[in-house]
């Protein structure tokens, strides 16, 4: 391994639901600044793995170290505050709020004004609000939605909604951004735009971990690939190495044969 330090260290992680081992014995690490992809057949436990990372599920066993501190089983909002943000496989926006407000909500963990500030409209509160709004606008522009800030989220086009989710996640100034199938349902042009966006996210200094089904995208964007099958990590490495790995081919073919 090269000299880059590990941002995320997962050791022997498991998430069981009754008898079902959705994730089991997963050990991996993500280095700061890389784009890593998580692939695997449907039902391989990829999303469950993300859910444990982000605090949706507590995890059954094992450890997760983020930036040096253990985070497994911590509440989701605390994990966001520590620097992990994510998007969702099925887009989950605050559909009745405007695009701008969606991004502003994303800054929750990086702001602090509570009851008295808003009620009394203190100087500190107004400063913070202005800052939240300015950063949200900057992020909207960053994902290419500058003009659509006042649209309600539910009225945005599908591709725009995906990018809005990215902007909302970035608003919490994450060190690690987790994208769950960011190109799902997109046409090739939209996918290409999104790949470009992911690269620019990395250029901001954010490490990216994504689940992706389109192998073309995986090859194109990722530095490293992890392969899951039946909740277990079966391979990891550079994209070319992994696709040549017989176990991986078997996992994919096995699924297609089934």
């Amino acid at each position: 391994m090269s000299g880059a330090r590990a941002l995320l260290e997962v050791r022997d992680l498991a998430q069981h639901f009754g008898g079902l081992k959705a994730v089991d014995q997963v050990t991996l690490s993500i280095r700061a600044g890389e784009i890593a992809a998580l692939i695997g057949p449907n039902g391989a436990g990829k999303t469950t793995f993300f859910n444990v990372l982000t605090g949706v599920y507590p995890g059954t066993r094992g450890e997760i170290f983020f930036d040096g501190s253990p985070i497994r089983g911590r509440p989701a909002h605390e994990i966001v505050a520590r620097g992990i943000a994510r998007t969702f496989q099925n887009i989950r926006l605050f559909s009745d709020m405007s695009a701008l407000e969606n991004v502003m909500v994303g800054r929750h963990a990086r702001s602090s004004e509570f009851l008295l500030g808003p009620l009394l409209r203190t100087a500190a509160f107004r400063r913070e609000e202005a800052d939240i709004e300015a950063r949200a606008k900057e992020l909207l522009a960053f994902v290419g939605l500058k003009a659509l800030g006042n649209e309600r989220a539910r009225n945005l086009a599908y591709g725009a909604q995906r990018r809005l989710e990215v902007a909302r996640a970035l608003a919490s100034e994450p060190k690690l951004l987790i994208l769950d199938e960011p190109t799902a349902g997109m046409n090739p042009t939209e996918s290409a735009d999104l790949v470009a966006l992911v690269r620019r996210v990395r250029e901001r200094g954010v490490t990216v971990l994504l689940i992706e089904h389109q192998m073309r995208v995986v090859m194109d964007v990722s530095d490293r690939v992890f392969v899951f099958d039946y909740g277990v990590k079966i391979a990891e490495g550079a994209p070319r190495e992994v696709t040549a790995n017989p176990r991986v081919i078997e996992a994919y073919l096995g699924q297609e044969a089934a």
Partner: protein
């Protein structure tokens, strides 16, 4: 669009219009108007409270009237213990908030309609407890409250001399002030990180949590804060009508509040105020205007109006406007 509704000018115009009502009533020799204004005002205060939980956060509360009752009973009991009225109001609000906080702490993990049923159950438990604890509440016979004339001093000024004796006018002014403060506080919270967090929870609880919002705490906050409005309304009610009995806090009142918030527009302050004006004002208006042979049809008409309004404006009369930001810069 938020700009206009919340522009200082519109607010002051509405406030001035509201404050002039007792003078209009006096000019028309129809003092009933002031009473209607006060009753609608109390309903507005309550609905603004429910709007915080149901409107912003989407917590379905079918027992909100219980906290109106707690505020009213606490005030009545404190007044009987010869506590000064302003202090009694303060303590009553504090107690209401405390009880709602404790309830929220235990039941807020329930979701959706299960929460609705549990709050409905709590509402009934509260009413029946007030009815059964005769030693404290005098049971069904109710509690008398000694008179309090909060703004009698206004009468020292010649043009307002009539206010000295008119408890309706005094309480009307007090209620208008409370509604104004409550609406302003709602607006300020709504237009802040706190309000955005609440609406985000309503829209998608999971996404809210994964955007860094401590959902449990923010639900509890909204649930608890709404009790300030309910407790205050209850205290004002007890002092104004000088009589508190369990009959005033039946399940129907909680339903009416839900209807106001939903029909006004969930999370929309202007909508909720308008909803309270319409749903609270219509029965009183009918009482005043219907001829004797139609007076019995009052609530039949009310039901028809409720159904028609829902069918024609299912999203509410004034659905909440979203923040409009200057995007060009």
């Amino acid at each position: 669009m938020k700009g206009l509704l919340h522009s200082r000018r519109t607010q002051w115009v509405l406030l001035a219009a509201a404050l002039s009502l007792p003078f209009l009533a006096r000019a028309l020799e129809f003092s009933f108007l002031t009473r209607v204004g006060g009753v609608v005002g109390l309903l507005m205060l309550l609905s603004l409270g429910l709007n915080v939980t149901l409107g912003y956060v989407g917590l379905f509360d079918l027992g909100f009237i219980a906290f109106y009752a707690v505020g009213a009973y606490a005030t009545a009991i404190l007044m009987r213990a010869h506590v000064a009225a302003p202090l009694a109001v303060l303590l009553a609000v504090a107690l209401t908030v405390l009880i709602r906080f404790l309830l929220g702490l235990t039941i807020l993990r329930l979701r959706g309609d299960y929460l609705a049923v549990v709050t409905m159950g709590f509402g009934e438990i509260a009413r029946l407890t007030f009815n059964n604890l005769d030693a404290l509440t005098n049971g069904p016979k109710g509690l008398q409250v000694r008179p309090w004339r909060p703004l009698a001093f206004l009468g020292a000024w010649k043009p307002l001399e009539f206010v000295r004796k008119e408890s309706n006018v005094q309480f009307y002014f007090l209620i208008v002030a409370a509604v104004f403060l409550a609406a302003e506080a709602s607006r300020r919270l709504e237009d802040s990180r706190v309000g955005r967090a609440w609406v985000a929870i309503r829209e998608d609880e999971v996404a809210a949590r994964l955007s860094g919002i401590p959902v449990r705490e923010y639900k509890l906050l909204a649930f608890t804060l709404s009790a300030v409005f309910a407790g205050l309304a209850g205290a004002l009610f007890a002092l104004w009508d000088q009589f508190v009995t369990p009959e005033s806090f039946i399940f129907w009142e909680s339903i009416l509040l839900v209807a106001i918030v939903v029909l006004g527009g969930m999370g929309s302050i202007a909508g909720v105020l308008l909803g309270a004006l319409i749903l609270g004002g219509i029965p009183l208006l009918m009482e005043a205007t219907l001829s004797p042979q139609w007076i019995d049809y009052r609530y039949l008409f009310f039901g028809v109006i409720l159904v028609l309004m829902t069918l024609f404006r299912p999203q509410g009369l004034l659905p909440s406007a979203r923040r409009e930001a200057e995007l060009s810069s």
